[in-house]
Amino acid sequence: MAKIAVSITSAKDNTDKATVGFVVANASVASGQETVVFLNVEGAYLAQEGYANDIHEEGFAPLKQLMGQFVEAGGTIWVCSPCFKKRGLNEEELIPGATIVGGAKLVEFLSQGASCITY
């Protein structure tokens, strides 16, 4: 099993990128790969419960559904700690399956040979 990191830096500022990031992450986890989505910069907003409910990019499944499937299939969601803090987001309202992390956690995963793609 390979390690795959999908870095998502967009939310409502670019719903296309946010959506495609999760589409690729879903392809990865559904292909049996150890997959981490790293929500950072504006992407940190996606970790807030309810935020993604109204994001439905044309030609794709609703983002909430994609994110739910990702976690259900065994994917891991990490949220950038300073990005989360900067935006005044609330830990008590994190989406299920998301964990707040800092750079060292991501670096550890990458140092183990993970490939990374960024949206």
């Binding site: 700690s81 750079g103 060292a104 956690k105």
Partner: protein, 80 residues
């Protein structure tokens, strides 16, 4: 400070710093320590709960334990 069964040699209060800032400060602080010495890191950062264990694994230091006092986390790390 929590009551722990070992001698803490260095105390580092990281406060609200997190991510790369906390890790760099911790790295510089521990660089001055001798092997087997123990540092207590006090942090309020949510990400540190995942970051400090990961950093210890990367650097080969031993995270003895984490103790939580309300929303403050105390990490006890023994230098390799």
């Amino acid at each position: 400070m929590p009551n722990v069964p070992y001698q803490v040699d260095v105390l580092y209060d990281a406060g609200p710093t997190g991510c790369g800032e906390l890790i760099m400060n911790l790295f510089m602080t521990m660089k001055k320590m001798s092997s087997k010495q123990i540092i207590e890191v006090v942090s309020y950062d949510l990400g540190a709960r995942e970051d400090i264990p990961a950093w210890c694994r990367l650097q080969g230091h031993t995270l003895l334990e984490r103790r939580d006092v309300d929303k403050t986390n105390h990490y006890y790390i023994q230098k390799n």
